[in-house]
């Protein structure tokens, strides 16, 4: 029979000194998902394996685990012949594959994630343009599964103050809402949006296929940049001045100029760029005419909008 070999990381805080791995053989079923494999293990081989899920169909966002090194939604992704399943990274482990979601909940509450109306709600249906609402269209697909949070290299930094991509997607959703009047630039700055190094890891793993950088993080960065607040915006301005002038990032100049402003994230960004993982300019150019000229126009345009 066709079988799946699955190695599961186990950790029971009451009995284990350190995590351990246990391997199981699971018969393959039609169209089997990662969650079906975990269910089989739970039902027949190791009843005590702890893993979390509710809906089974990509709606509740609670089943994400790390499969062969990549955060995945267990109920959505197909089972692979050989799998190592571990809890999501960047979150405290409660037991086996179950992680503490509290830190993200707090991060989300901190950004005031409901629209704040400046005018009184006129009653249903309120006049709204589908075009204006489409700006955040993809963002509404977020189910807060935290796969992106686990994939983000900045979240892995000890003591990081970055709120992380999951929180920022939800911040952008309200920030781009034409009805919202909250000071989202300030909130984005408090969420340390400029700690993001545009590595696209979050997008790569998002089960909802949300263009996180393009639709959430960049609009938030632009918002802060335009308002010119905080250290991050200062860094962004220098960064963009450099791009405008040279058509590319002049890294040494930028590091010198920022002098400690967000040095931690910057340094990491450049390390990753050096390894070819990150191209911050690509993120700003994507979908638009290429080159320094276009970029300059773009930013002059956005400055005029202030």
């Amino acid at each position: 029979m066709d079988t799946i070999r699955v190695r599961i990381r186990r950790f029971d805080p009451e009995t284990d000194q350190a995590p351990r791995y246990e391997t199981f053989e699971v018969p393959r079923a039609p169209e089997m998902r990662v969650l079906d494999v975990l269910d089989y293990v739970h039902e027949t081989l190791a009843q005590d394996v702890a893993y979390r899920w509710f809906c089974g169909v990509k709606k509740c966002g609670t089943c994400a685990v790390t499969v062969n090194g990549t955060p995945k939604l267990a109920c959505w992704e197909p089972a692979e012949a050989e799998m190592t399943i571990e809890p999501l990274a960047n979150l405290p482990v409660v037991r086996d594959l179950v992680v503490e979601r509290g830190p993200c909940r707090e991060g989300l509450c901190a950004i005031e994630p409901l629209i704040q109306r400046t005018t009184e709600y006129p009653g249903f249906p309120e006049p709204l343009s589908h075009r204006a609402m489409a700006r955040a269209g993809h963002l509404r697909d977020c189910i807060l599964c935290l796969a992106c949070h686990a994939a983000c290299p900045v979240m892995a930094e000890p003591g990081t103050r970055f709120a992380g991509p999951a929180v920022l997607v939800n911040l952008a959703e309200v920030a781009l809402d034409p009805r919202d009047g909250a000071d989202r630039a300030r909130i984005a700055e408090t969420a340390h949006v400029f700690s993001c190094v545009s590595c696209y890891e979050c997008e790569r793993v998002c089960p909802a296929e949300i263009p996180i950088v393009r639709d959430a993080i960049e609009p938030l960065k632009r918002l802060v940049y335009r308002r010119g607040i905080g250290e991050g915006a200062r860094h962004a301005r220098l960064f963009l001045d450099s791009v405008k002038k040279h058509g590319r990032v002049n890294a040494p100049q930028l590091v010198l100029a920022t002098q400690g402003a967000n040095r931690e994230a910057l340094g990491r960004g450049f390390r990753m760029m050096a390894r070819g993982k990150v191209n911050p300019v690509r993120s700003l150019l994507e979908g638009r005419a290429g080159g320094a000229e276009a970029l300059r126009k773009l930013y002059e345009g956005s400055e005029e909008n202030e």
Partner: protein, 567 residues
């Protein structure tokens, strides 16, 4: 046991009903505490909602269409018609507005008009068809957190505490930390839903084990029409976890068409506009048609029949429907390929007995909200109305009442019961195996029922209770997030709830809506527009039949063959 918590209003359950109940009671000035077995807005079936009906009653004709749809097609006359009218006012004037005010985006078309679909009663969706539930519930979650209402998550209520017959709170099992604590509440709102994982194939979320029904029955409350169990016909056969994905048989956004069902040979055996033109929620009709195909050997209950949208322009399906992603994920083309389906145990029309005007249950101090009640089928909008009524009345009753004393004997007994399960299984069976066993009994019982099958199911459940339950033990006795421990408690709830369901089915001697007995294949409106009321009496059961008034809409026929009735 940890220190008791004291509150004015305790809300058990964090779906659409519980959320609205908590918000309403809080607005009325009560101190509210919420307890949710999973996560507020993420566990329970509210996240599955796709269509949200918009109750347009601007003309006499539209108003009577709406009543017909709710009373006849949704509830097969087993609802409180005055409640339906009151709820209609909420649906028309408040439901969509309160969510829109929060920021929910009701999908607009190119002309910026709200996108509505459906032949008789228009429904609207959030963002895209198939994505309404998660978005609405996430907004509710944020609203509740923003208000500062305490929410205890990954905490299951396991028993209602009573004092002289009055409900005065509940015991809570916090399985994240492996501790228990009692909550003393002036009034308690039970909102644990109606989609339970009680059969091998089910639309329910993982944690739904009919706890609300079981704990209320144990406390002495009445249940009603538990046998009125809906089945989904066009749910996916594979992969197993996707049995909760519904290939919608109701009209699709952006087109008057809907999916079709095909038997093994590829013949269409169901399409909404042909087979149930009067109903935009045609699930009971689908089930009847499938039963005929199964009889002919042209389908099985768990497969061998198919559903698809291949007769509808694929770009329409892709534009308005989240489900198109399902096809894509399996490497299929929504414009060409069909999916194999199986039948799934869906939501319950019946539930606990309730006075819909106040949402009071049959025990003082206890209120119900949402699918847990027997008064109406459900739906995210309708259960929100229940939450509003329950929240208002429960806060009102709590106002000025002294904090109740906790019945220490009950609290200690429940603690002993919970910790009694925290033991190794030496030669015994594990809770998950018992869960699978119970689900198998209900799956075998299935859609086509009769006295023989029902009695057999009761015997099998009794055997599990007598022989397996006493031997049940765990693999791990650690307290932290021990899902086996929680499974053990679920097993006791499932045994109680399934037994009550089968007993209720034995009492109803007719067929109606989702409920089919081949030994009584007639819809008997003369005798059975009634609540089959059931409650525990010591170790036994008692029952009575309460007729349901039909003040606004009556069925045309006194009796009709089940397969000829269109509701």
């Amino acid at each position: 046991m940890h220190d008791p918590v004291s509150t004015d209003v305790l809300v058990i359950g964090g779906g659409a009903a519980g959320a609205k109940a908590a918000l309403t009671a809080h607005e009325a000035g009560a101190r509210v505490t919420m307890v949710v077995k999973g996560f507020l807005g993420k566990s329970g079936c509210s996240i599955f909602a796709s269509h949200l009906p918009y109750y347009d009653e601007s003309t006499q004709e539209k108003a009577s269409d709406r009543l017909r749809y709710a009373v006849r097609y949704y509830n097969h006359y087993l609802t409180d018609q005055d409640h339906v009218r009151r709820m209609g006012v909420y649906m028309r004037t408040e439901f969509h507005a309160e969510l829109e005010r929060l920021g929910v985006y009701w999908l607009r078309d190119e002309q910026d008009r709200i996108f509505a679909t459906g032949p008789r009663v228009p429904t609207v969706v959030v963002h895209k068809q198939g994505a309404s539930g998660p978005i609405i519930m996430e907004k509710r979650r944020r609203e509740i957190f923003a208000r500062g209402i305490p929410v205890l998550e990954e905490c299951a209520a396991t028993a209602l505490l009573t004092d002289g017959g009055r409900v005065v709170g509940a015991t809570i099992f916090d399985y994240r930390h492996g501790v228990t604590f009692p909550v003393a509440a002036k009034t308690t709102i039970l909102a644990t839903g109606h989609s339970d994982y009680l059969a091998s194939r089910s639309t329910a979320t993982r944690e739904q084990s009919a706890d609300g029904v079981a704990m209320a029955l144990r406390a002495g409350a009445e249940a009603a029409n538990l046998e009125m169990q809906w089945w989904h016909v066009s749910d996916m056969a594979h992969p197993r976890t996707w049995m909760r994905i519904h290939v919608y048989p109701n009209p699709l956004l952006g087109t008057p068409e809907s999916s079709r069902l095909y038997n093994t040979r590829g013949d269409v055996f169901y399409e909404q506009k042909t087979h149930s033109p009067g109903s935009s929620a045609p699930y009971v009709e689908q089930a009847r048609r499938l039963a005929l195909e199964v009889q002919k050997g042209l389908a099985r209950w768990d497969g061998g029949y198919f559903s698809g949208y291949d007769h509808i322009p694929a770009d329409v399906v892709r534009t308005y429907q989240h489900q198109a992603k399902v096809w894509q994920k399996l490497g299929l083309d929504v414009g060409r390929d069909r999916l194999e389906c199986g039948i799934t145990w869906h939501m319950r029309q019946g539930g606990l007995n309730v006075d819909a005007a106040t949402m009071r249950a049959s025990l003082p101090g206890l209120y119900l909200a949402g699918g847990i009640g027997c008064h109406y089928l459900g739906g995210v909008g309708p259960v929100s109305y229940d939450g509003k009524v329950a929240g208002t009345c429960a806060a009102d009753e709590a106002h000025g009442r002294p904090a109740p004393a906790l019945p220490s004997e009950q609290v200690e007994a429940e603690d002993r019961r919970i910790f009694g399960f925290l033991r190794h299984a030496d030669d015994g069976c594990l809770p998950i195996q018992l869960k699978l066993g119970i689900r198998d009994v209900m799956w075998e019982l299935g859609y086509v029922k009769n006295e023989r099958k029902l009695v057999h199911a009761l015997q099998r459940l009794q055997r599990l209770r007598d022989e397996e339950l006493p031997r049940m033990g765990l693999q791990s006795t650690s307290r932290t997030w021990n899902s086996g421990w929680l499974d053990a408690l679920d097993v006791t709830a499932m045994l109680d709830a399934t037994e009550a369901t089968v007993r209720s089915a034995l009492l109803r001697k007719e067929s109606r809506g989702p409920f089919y007995r081949d030994d009584y294949p007639v819809t008997d409106n003369e005798h059975w527009i009634a609540r089959v009321v059931l409650w525990r009496n010591g170790n036994g059961w008692q029952s009575r039949i309460d007729p349901i008034p039909t003040p606004h809409l009556k069925p045309e026929k006194a009796r009709e063959p089940f397969f000829e009735a269109d509701y």
